[in-house]
Symmetry: C2
Subunit: 470 residues, 2 copies
């Protein structure tokens, strides 16, 4: 769907081939708004036509906001034009783009950008995809410790760094060299905010103003570490260092927001036993999605087959009391539902570090009390339902079998309460157990808990049947 405000206007400009107006359009609006106007109806060639009249840095800004799939299309379409543009993109987004292009395209592109950029790209592309290194940008502002704030402002003017990275300035040590004589990253001494530089007297020394109580990430840290740090401290950017505390880059707040959103999507999908599916729902590849859904359905299916054997074990009873089986789906579902609730709460609390493994006794006690209180409520509903609303055909069969009606009421009530408590305990403790043996607690998705509590529920049900009716 075209942008309601600018879409029609832009179409007109394209038809008229009005380069001046298209340039004004791109230069005056926020790049994200331009991209909204340039939706799926535009071919890569048309997008090139719209953006090419404006300055290279505007083109790069707009290009950065395009979805990755679109960027790749556009590059494959018009390689010669792209060199300059890649040179102007912000460093982390550029590395992210290049990491996903086919190797041949990357090679061709890298030849088009200049020496300094080529090195920077090579550096960023080498980090693993889910590490801090892959998220960071090397485009930071820095100062030596020995300058005054007035000199600092002059130095920053010369660096004129990106909009997103000037607000924290990193104070670095003198350059050093590695054993093999290659230059090592300069050691990080402290950080000073642009605010403090502006507000301090003009002759104050950076050395005296900088904050040396640093929070830094290592380039090999996982992405959860990044979100934890940004959630704990309200930073705009966090420095990334190597083993020797040499500054190799920074991670900025906007990238963290994307990571948090992606992590939330992944948690939701895992909770429903979907292998994480990246990107847009409708645009994801059919067979990739199929694989990520089927593998879990198949595992669950095979696991659930245990219920066949468990029920076959009670086949003798089943023949004489077939009328009692109508309550089975109800009793089993209670365990699955209370188990999903407990598993979701505990898994999320583990992810947000609200609970630790050594809290398992507290979790167990709380879930046991909770499950008993929930079972009490559901038990009451079960009594009401079986007492007043048992289907007539079941009552008739009950009389024919010579069993007592109160036995039926107790069967349903105790089964419901039993599966509710079992489900909640399994749901709360299994994710902790998985974490304890070193796995990912999110593996214990709701469907897994439901399947497991189905098996336990059948055992509970038929044992109560055996106690009451035989």
């Amino acid at each position: 769907m075209s942008h309601p405000l600018f879409g029609p206007e832009l179409k007109l400009l394209l038809e008229e081939n009005n380069a001046e107006a298209m340039s004004a359009f791109c230069e005056s609006l926020h790049p994200a708004t331009v991209v909204e106007a340039l939706d799926d109806e535009y071919t890569p060639e048309q997008i090139w036509e719209v953006i090419s009249p404006s300055s290279i840095s505007t083109q790069a800004a707009i290009f950065e906001y395009l979805p990755l799939a679109r960027q790749i299309e556009m590059i494959e379409n018009a390689r010669p034009q792209v060199g300059q543009l890649i040179g102007k993109m912000s460093h982390d987004d550029r590395a992210d783009l290049l990491r996903r292009l086919p190797p041949r395209v990357v090679e061709a592109l890298i030849r088009l950008v200049d020496e300094a950029d080529r090195k920077d790209i090579a550096t960023l592309v080498q980090y693993g995809e889910n590490t801090v290194g892959s998220l960071m940008t090397t485009d930071y502002a820095w100062l030596p410790a020995t300058v005054s704030t007035a000199e600092a402002i002059e130095l920053l003017r010369q660096q004129a760094p990106d909009r997103e990275t000037i607000y924290y300035v990193y104070v670095l040590d003198e350059p050093t060299r590695r054993v093999d004589n290659s230059p090592a990253p300069r050691r990080l001494l402290g950080v000073i905010s642009l605010r403090d530089i502006i507000l301090a007297p003009r002759q104050a020394m950076v050395r005296d103003l900088m904050d040396t109580e640093l929070v830094a990430l290592h380039f090999n840290d996982g992405l959860e570490k990044v979100t934890q740090i940004f959630q704990r401290y309200d930073f705009i950017a966090v420095p990334v260092v190597d083993e020797k505390y040499g500054l190799v880059g920074i991670v900025t707040h906007d990238d963290v927001l994307d990571v948090v959103t992606e992590e939330a999507t992944e948690s939701l999908q895992r909770q429903a036993a979907v292998g994480p599916i990246e990107g847009n729902y409708l645009e994801a590849k059919f067979w990739t999605v199929w694989y990520n859904r089927f593998k879990w359905l198949a595992v669950l299916f095979i696991f659930q087959m245990v219920t066949i054997n468990v029920m076959a074990h009670y086949e003798g009873e089943m023949k004489s009391i077939a009328f009692l089986l109508v309550f089975i789906p109800l009793c089993l579902s209670v365990g699955g539902n209370s188990g999903s609730q407990a598993a979701t709460l505990v898994t999320r609390a583990l992810a947000l570090q609200q609970i630790q493994l050594h809290d398992w006794v507290k979790v167990f006690r709380r879930e046991l009390l909770m499950a008993l209180a929930l079972a009490a409520g559901l038990g009451l509903l079960a009594i009401l339902r079986t007492w007043f609303l048992t289907p007539l055909s079941v009552e008739t069969d009950l009389i024919i079998a010579g069993a007592r009606f109160t036995h039926l009421v107790w069967l349903v009530t105790f089964s419901v309460m039993g599966t509710c408590v079992t489900g909640a305990l399994v749901g709360a403790l299994l994710p902790m157990l998985i974490k304890w043996i070193g796995g990912d607690p999110a593996l214990m998705s709701s469907p897994f808990i439901a399947t497991l509590s189905d098996v336990l529920g059948i055992v509970i049900y038929f044992n109560i049947v055996a106690m009451l009716f035989f």
Copy 2:
């Protein structure tokens, strides 16, 4: 658990009553680190003892990082000391705190802070809890349009605003008054970043440098709007305006990160049919959690009771073919699992605006094809399992009943495939239907889909039984 690094040290300082060292401790570390050291083992009085030797602004910074429940405890404990501290807290966090205190405590506190702060608190507390107004701070930096950048830096020095809010400076119109002669918020003309002020020539006019293509929020907008804007544009802060484009506050990036995390927790809980539970898992009130879990369990339980009537309808068949019932839990679970997957994917895609309601045909087609491809795989597993692994007792009963073994294979296979497809379609389309009639698609949680597909699964199962065996 106490902080591994600073915990023991701090305990010692407290015992020695070493005010100087405690002050040095609080002043030199990041407030978030101080709060980590001040964990549950400390009473509110002890926390007061630790922080009170340091400056009021440090105390306020540390206080802001404490969990809300802890802040309330501390205030109720030592009201007289708190007035000054509240005066120094950042404006949005303060409003958030006051909104949750008992009204009597708030009144007592407000009398302790000075005039200007009292007005600001009254303004912020009045906004609804889930609106942009409740998230914003009134502590922003601003400039008139008619000054040069050199003058701008001087003006900003005088305002010396908070660390978090100086980086975007808002350019405001001349003051105006409302009809009743009260001062109206000044109209927002543009925004200029501190970076641009620093990098521009010293005589350039703010008027000429400012960006007038503004992205702004209204104070009554919902929180989803905030996260969408921050996810689309990589801003550090976004201005909040009233109907006449008067600036009433700003929302900063760090608050948005909290909102995104809270929203993710809420989505996960709703997907598992838990009424949203705020705050820490172990600290949440028992009966609040009970209520938020029980209400959904009860609704699901009552809904699932339909399965009793549906199964009772097939009671006649059940008596003669009790041995076939062992496959029911397996067939039902497939529908619940494929339904949960589809519901989670579609609900999340709706929340992230990857799909719109008018895409329902695309979603239907995709889920139908997907479900058929999933059913094909599961059908194959079902054939293998029933062909090679049917329990002997079931086979014997089958022979006694005079039925054919292939019929059993087809029963299980077709039931599994049928419930898989039905579950996925119900899971994908119900959230969209709920949204279409104006409800929240997240209401169609996985357990709801599982319950609904249980009912449909029983109908499918017994109809196939009737076709093949009678």
